[in-house]
């Protein structure tokens, strides 16, 4: 056995041994919902994913991924999809990615990686299914691995064609594959998938779903056997597969999935999807979190997926794709600076390491402040990356949500919002929208905030906090949590639970046109 295979074997055995993260045991570890935290994964896997923006929220503050849309065809039909647009749940509804040839895609990757040294991961996710377009997908991988050998390759698929391509995937050293698995029960699948196209035939109903689930689970097993890390995405569809996803979580964990990402259904009539038109709703923030919590002991949960568009470029919710249109990249003069990229990434690692210690020190002082009282609160944070509270309230396109408890600050998700600060009309509406989006939070941390929104937030019972501008998120939120517990201890305030929050469904098309303008 060659050394690489031996190493992969060891990793796979480690996965097999690793049983959940034990965050329920009250052992004070930072919980595993922080998206594959250091304590939750075997060290070998942590090594592989710690700098991967799609698997670790913390890494997403420092590293960026990009997707290229080379795969327009699909081999299944989903009720949450309108094929005029990109996949509504893998990507954002109402968005059309710019389609590229493999040659254009490889050029774009080199151009982006030369401009943005944080860009370390290339994904192919659609707009169709990459494995329904195997020639285009693998040609892109071939060209990129030649031109930019340090870029990690990953792939998202519905799994139908996966068993046929596992060996090619392994050959390209693709180390991460994402499979979207929404059910393991064909009766439930029949309500999600009207048909699949396989082996030159269209299958419908329960037969289609039975075929799909068999192929998905077989593909998952084949990948884990070969040491390829496998993440599972599931779309939570209330009343259809919500409780069933607990069984899905168990089934995919048994077969070696190292992360399970449950995403909310995004559905509105204007998306033109079957679910949008039949009025099928998406889950609320609390319903989503309850389900993620129920699955937590299973495969590690991932909560930071932004369902970004298939040609997105950038850190966090940022999208710089407008800088890299086909016309612009074809005109760019690019040379690939591998050493410069490595040096940049080494500096990022130093910074990350030094901040981990400060966080741990802050956490150790929590006990003296009633940290053991069992109080947990959610807080929202405006950030544009680097793990800092560094975004102005009015400029935030999304808020990150952390759960504060005796165990520390645990990332539990993020909420997209409309820009409050668009200078002009609609400000009142967008502020109300932001409050609805973070209504389950006790406080919102920002670098800066104006007087008016401040007053409205306070009136809504959400404390605006601007005293930790440009400081580390985890350290600052724990410092604030200490003072919150102190105020409870002194009887100044009474801790009360907050309500639920809304996951935004509409308005994405408008947001998109703003991005480009």
């Amino acid at each position: 056995m060659d050394p690489l295979t031996a190493q992969q074997d060891a990793i796979m055995q480690e996965i097999a041994r690793h049983k959940g993260c034990g965050s329920g045991g009250g052992d004070g570890k930072t919980g595993c919902g922080s998206t594959a935290g250091r304590d939750d994964l075997p060290p070998e896997i942590w090594e592989k994913v710690k700098n991967h923006p799609c698997y670790s929220e913390e890494a997403h503050h420092h590293y960026a991924r990009m997707h290229v849309a080379v795969a327009p065809a699909c081999n299944i039909q989903c009720n949450y999809c309108n094929r005029k647009y990109d996949c509504a749940n893998e990507s954002r509804p109402g968005v059309v990615s710019e389609r590229l040839t493999p040659e254009q895609a490889a050029r774009k990757v080199v151009a982006v990686a030369s401009t943005i040294p944080q860009m370390t991961v290339l994904g192919i996710a659609g707009p169709g299914d990459p494995l329904a377009n195997p020639a285009k997908t693998f040609r892109t991988f071939e060209l990129v691995s030649r031109a930019a050998p340090d870029i990690k390759l990953c792939l998202s698929t519905n799994g139908l064609a996966l068993p046929d391509h596992v060996d090619t995937i392994a050959g390209f050293k693709v180390d991460h594959v994402t499979i979207t698995i929404n059910m393991i029960d064909p009766e439930i699948g029949a309500r999600i998938y009207p048909w699949v196209f396989w082996n030159h035939r269209r299958y419908t109903g329960v037969e289609a779903a039975r075929l799909l689930t068999a192929r998905q689970l077989q593909g998952l097993e084949m990948l884990t056997e070969r040491g390829i890390l496998c993440k599972v995405n599931s779309v939570m569809i209330p009343g259809v597969n919500d409780r069933h996803l607990i069984e899905v979580n168990r089934a995919v964990k048994e077969r070696g999935a190292f992360l399970h990402n449950i995403m909310p259904l995004i559905s509105a009539p204007e998306h033109g999807t079957v679910f949008g038109l039949t009025g099928q709703r998406g889950p609320t923030a609390q319903e989503l979190k309850t389900l993620q919590d129920a699955c937590e002991g299973g495969a590690n949960m991932m909560r930071h997926c932004r369902q970004c568009r298939a040609d997105a470029v950038g850190l966090l919710g940022e999208d710089r794709s407008a800088e890299f249109t086909t016309d612009k990249i074809m005109a760019m003069d690019v040379s690939y600076d591998l050493d410069g990229r490595r040096a940049y990434q080494a500096r990022v690692e130093e910074d990350r390491q030094s901040r981990v210690e400060a966080r741990e020190a802050e956490l150790r002082t929590l006990d003296g402040h009633g940290g053991a009282s069992g109080v947990t609160v959610l807080v929202a944070v405006a950030t544009k990356g680097s793990g800092l509270i560094n975004e102005h309230f009015g400029h935030a396109r999304e808020f990150q949500v952390y759960e504060l408890s005796a165990a520390g600050a645990k990332f539990v998700g993020h909420r997209r919002v409309d820009l409050y600060c668009q200078g002009g009309y609609g400000e009142e509406d967008s502020l109300a929208g932001i409050i609805r989006a973070i209504n389950d939070c006790h406080a919102v941390f920002v670098a800066k905030i104006g007087g008016c929104p401040k007053a409205d937030l306070i009136a809504a019972g959400i404390e605006p906090v601007d005293g930790y501008a440009h400081d580390d998120i985890a350290t600052s939120t724990i410092a604030w949590f200490k003072s919150y517990l102190d105020r409870i201890g002194r009887g100044e305030i009474v801790h009360a639970a907050r309500g639920d929050a809304l996951i935004r469904q509409g308005g994405l098309i408008a947001l998109q046109s703003l991005n480009v303008a």
Binding site: P72, A73, R83, A132, F197, H200, R201, R202
Partner: protein, 74 residues
């Protein structure tokens, strides 16, 4: 003797192009078209027209009434 693609409904996804056993389908200005001289309605290859089976938009790959139905050589 052929199918045709209703251009106003075609999303340009290219799924049909890859499935056609006769390379009868190609892209033209963002949508796809079928060359009626090459299309055999998949007769002799598959039980049903592949383009229609894979197309995500119902009734987009349809029999073209303007051309006579394909007759397999006997």
């Amino acid at each position: 003797m052929a199918l045709k693609i209703v251009a106003s409904q075609c999303t340009g996804c290219s799924a049909c192009e890859a499935e056609c056993p006769n390379q009868a389908i190609s892209e033209k200005a963002g949508t796809f078209i079928i060359n009626p001289a090459k299309c055999t309605e998949c007769i002799g290859h598959y039980d049903n027209p592949q383009c229609a089976a894979v197309c995500p938009v119902d009734d987009t790959c349809v029999i073209d009434p303007a051309v006579p139905r394909y007759q397999a050589a006997s």
